[in-house]
Every structure is written in structure tokens, then in C-alpha cells.
């Protein structure tokens, strides 16, 4: 779930963790009632500061993705279809934004990108 965690990215780690969880919920990887790993477990596994995990979970809780029950753990909430699709949309936009930034640095025009995207989507990359 958290394979793409990149500490060198300017995006803060807690945000990356929260994004990954959101995406997993949006993509159906996590369903209602599923238990998220404990802070202790996750911070040890990812080797990140426990505070980072706490912060990510707190954000998710505030947004209604998860709920923390004292002593029992953190559970995935019932998330509405709309919220899920919005999350997916946002994830896609984040990807594109990164892509565009990279392209700008390399001096590629938007048309070049559009062509490449079409090409890839049509299976031309194989």
C-alpha cells in the first residue's frame, strides 16, 4: 500500500501516507470496517516517525475516512461513492501535475505529452 513512499519528495510524509490510504479506500482495496495498522506497527514498518503516522491518521479521521476507537484501533469508515470518486480524481490530478512539472523542466510541450499519453493508452508502449 505504501510502496511509493518517498521521503525525498517535497510532499510531506504524513500527506503521502494519507494519500495512499485514501487511494486504497477509493480504489476499494480497503473496505468499511477494515483495520489500519497501528501507529507502532506502521511507523516501525515504514521506518517513519510515529508522529507522522499519527498526523496522517488524524487527517484521515477529520476527513471522515477512518475512525479511531480507543484501545481497539483505527477502522475504515463507510465512505460515500462521491467522496471516493473525488479522491480518485484528485489522485489523477496530482499525477498529472507532477508529470507536467517534469515535462516543463525537460522543455516538453503539452502537445508532446498528449501524444505520448494517447500512444501509451493505445498500448503502443508494449
Amino acid at each position: 500500500m505504501f510502496e511509493r513512499l518517498d521521503p525525498r519528495s517535497p510532499v510531506p510524509l504524513y500527506a503521502q501516507i494519507a494519500d495512499d490510504v485514501r487511494l486504497a479506500i477509493a480504489g476499494g482495496e480497503l473496505g468499511e470496517g477494515d483495520v489500519l495498522p497501528s501507529v507502532r506497527q506502521l511507523s516501525a514498518e515504514l521506518r517513519v516517525n510515529p508522529a507522522t503516522v499519527v498526523q496522517a491518521y488524524r487527517e484521515l479521521e477529520q476527513e471522515g475516512f477512518v475512525a479511531t476507537r480507543q484501545g481497539a484501533g483505527t477502522f475504515v469508515q463507510n465512505v460515500g461513492r462521491e467522496l471516493r470518486s473525488r479522491e480518485r480524481r484528485q489522485a489523477a490530478r496530482r499525477l498529472v501535475r507532477n508529470l507536467l512539472r517534469e515535462a516543463r523542466r525537460l522543455g516538453l510541450a503539452p502537445d508532446d505529452l498528449r501524444d505520448a499519453l494517447d500512444h501509451e493508452l493505445n498500448g503502443g508502449g508494449r
Binding site: R8, L13, R40, Q41, A44, V48, N49, P50, A51, T52
Partner: protein, 298 residues
């Protein structure tokens, strides 16, 4: 904010080549504080001063609210220490060194120690001197953790360890920290290792504390800007700090700035210049840039 470690105007002199002048270090309670700096910057010396292994020539040190080295006995009972070089008696076995350590630490958690020993795959009857570097590192971390400290002081704990061991050691450390909300002061010159676990960073070079700030601020605040048409001088109204300026490709200049936010584009524009690109720096790059600007200033 309370501090697990706080120094004020710490001074120390060793020989002719090394001196520390007025180091003000603040490790917030509950934080994981990454103590960075190149080899020979004075990290180990600072740590030894904090633990009372060396005597400062000036300044004040408070650890866990108590003054050092006056309260060293009660402070050391609450501090776990992993030194840069193994300090455990090499002729003792793993079990014996654990027993010795337990005898001196009232809060020793024998059960967890046994658990960690299994987790680290340390055999009871192996002599410490015959352990590999990785195993020694794990044993020292075990001893520091099982005494249930409120503050962990780790001096290059993973230096020279292979990735697997490093992972084991960090996992145990983080599990402990999340269980006990302990504070950690961890020194390293391997910046990327600290990048994901620290929430505070202190940067030391040549006996001085170059910078000390929360990791978030460090990572989001330090940028490299490419600027064209930059004025020769910047006035005091500039909302960010320019750490260094240098030529880039063509007419552009390269600025290293701190405290940058996107809404500051306007200010640059008002100076008649244009920011053509903003590059995010990771900790290591930021660290290198900070050091460079610090050394240039001297």
C-alpha cells in the same frame, strides 16, 4: 514547549583545532531530533557533553529538566545511550552484559529485553567481542531500549551497518518511541536515513550549530530559485532569506532561499525580476546548501 535536551551557550575546547562556541541546542520533548553534520563537526562531542562524559568549559546543559552534570546519576537513569563506538565489555557474553546492564538500571524490562534478543537473533552465550558489527549495534540498541529510557541518545547508531540490520534497529527504536513517547536525539552523517524519521533537525558544522528547525519547515522552506533580471541588492523587505546567490545558465541566477512560499512570486516581480523555476530540495541537498552558505559566511 518543554525540552528533553536544552543547552545554552555551550562551550568546549579540545586541543588547538577544535572549539565549540555557544551552542544552543533544543530537543523538544517527544521529538525525534536528527543531529546532522559532517564528520568532525562536533556532534559526538556535543553528545558527550550532554551526557556528562566531557566537562564543558562554559554554558548550561539541562537534560530531562535536570541540570547536567550535577544530576548525572538521576539523568543517566532516564537516558539510553548508544555510543559511536561499542562500549560494552567485549569479554562478556550477550547474557552477561544484559545482566550487568540490568543490575544498574532499575527500570530494566527483562521480558522485553528477551523478546528483543530473539528479534535481533542474538545468542546468549556469544561473547560480545566475537559479535559482528551489526550484532554489536543491535546489542547496544537492545541495552539502551530495555532500560526504558525517557530519552534516547544515539550517536551514529547505524553507521557501518548493513541495510537489514539498520532496518531491524530502526524498527525496534520506532516501536519503542511510539509505545513510550520517548524523545530521541539521533546523530548521523547519513542524511537520507534521518529524512523519514525525524521531526526536528539540528545541523552542526565546525563546532557551531548552523541551523535548528522542524523537519517540515526545513523541507518545505528551503528552495533553489532560478531568477532572471535580479537586482544586485535586496532590501530588508524581502520576506524570505537568501542563503546564497550564484550564477546559473545564461542570464539567470541561482538563489538558495529559506522561508519560501508560492505567494512570494509577486514580491520578486515587484523587484523587476522573474522567478523562472522553483526547485524543491530534499534534506540532503538542503543540508549541503546550508553548509556551503554557512562556510562561505565564515
Amino acid at each position: 514547549m518543554t525540552f528533553a535536551v536544552e543547552t545554552q551557550g555551550l562551550r568546549y575546547r579540545a586541543g588547538r583545532n577544535f572549539a565549540m562556541e555557544g551552542v544552543d541546542l533544543h530537543v523538544p520533548t517527544g521529538a525525534i531530533y536528527g543531529f546532522l553534520g559532517p564528520n568532525g563537526a562536533g556532534k559526538t562531542t556535543t553528545i558527550r557533553l550532554i551526557l556528562g562524559l566531557l566537562r564543558a568549559t562554559g554554558g548550561r546543559i539541562a537534560v530531562l529538566g535536570e541540570s547536567m552534570p550535577a544530576a548525572r546519576v538521576s539523568v543517566l537513569a532516564r537516558v539510553g545511550y548508544v555510543p559511536d563506538r561499542p562500549h560494552v565489555h567485549p569479554s562478556l557474553t550477550v547474557a552477561q552484559s544484559m545482566e550487568l546492564h540490568a543490575a544498574f538500571h532499575a527500570r530494566w524490562d527483562a521480558r522485553w529485553a528477551t523478546e528483543l534478543k530473539g528479534q535481533f537473533r542474538l545468542a546468549d552465550d556469544r561473547r560480545v567481542g566475537s559479535l559482528s558489527k551489526g550484532e554489536t549495534g543491535k546489542l547496544m540498541m537492545l541495552l539502551a531500549l530495555a532500560q526504558l529510557p525517557e530519552l534516547l541518545v544515539l550517536d551514529e547508531p547505524t553507521d557501518g551497518l548493513d541495510p537489514v540490520v539498520r532496518r531491524d534497529v530502526l524498527e525496534a527504536l520506532l516501536a519503542y518511541v511510539s509505545d513510550r513517547q520517548a524523545s530521541v536525539l539521533i546523530s548521523s552523517h547519513l542524511v537520507h536515513e534521518l529524512e523519514r524519521i525525524c521531526d526536528w533537525v539540528g545541523l552542526m558544522d565546525r563546532g557551531a550549530l548552523v541551523a535548528e528547525l522542524p523537519m517540515r519547515e526545513f523541507k518545505s522552506g528551503i528552495k533553489r530559485l532560478y531568477v532572471t533580471g535580479a537586482p544586485a541588492l535586496l532590501d530588508d523587505t524581502t520576506p524570505f532569506t537568501v542563503l546564497s546567490r550564484g550564477p546559473a545558465n545564461g542570464a539567470a541566477e541561482q538563489w538558495l532561499v529559506r522561508g519560501w512560499t508560492p505567494d512570494m512570486h509577486d514580491h520578486v516581480t515587484s523587484l523587476g525580476a522573474t522567478v523562472t523555476d522553483v526547485i524543491d530540495l530534499d534534506l540532503e541537498e538542503g543540508f549541503v546548501e546550508l553548509l556551503r552558505s554557512f562556510r562561505d559566511k565564515r
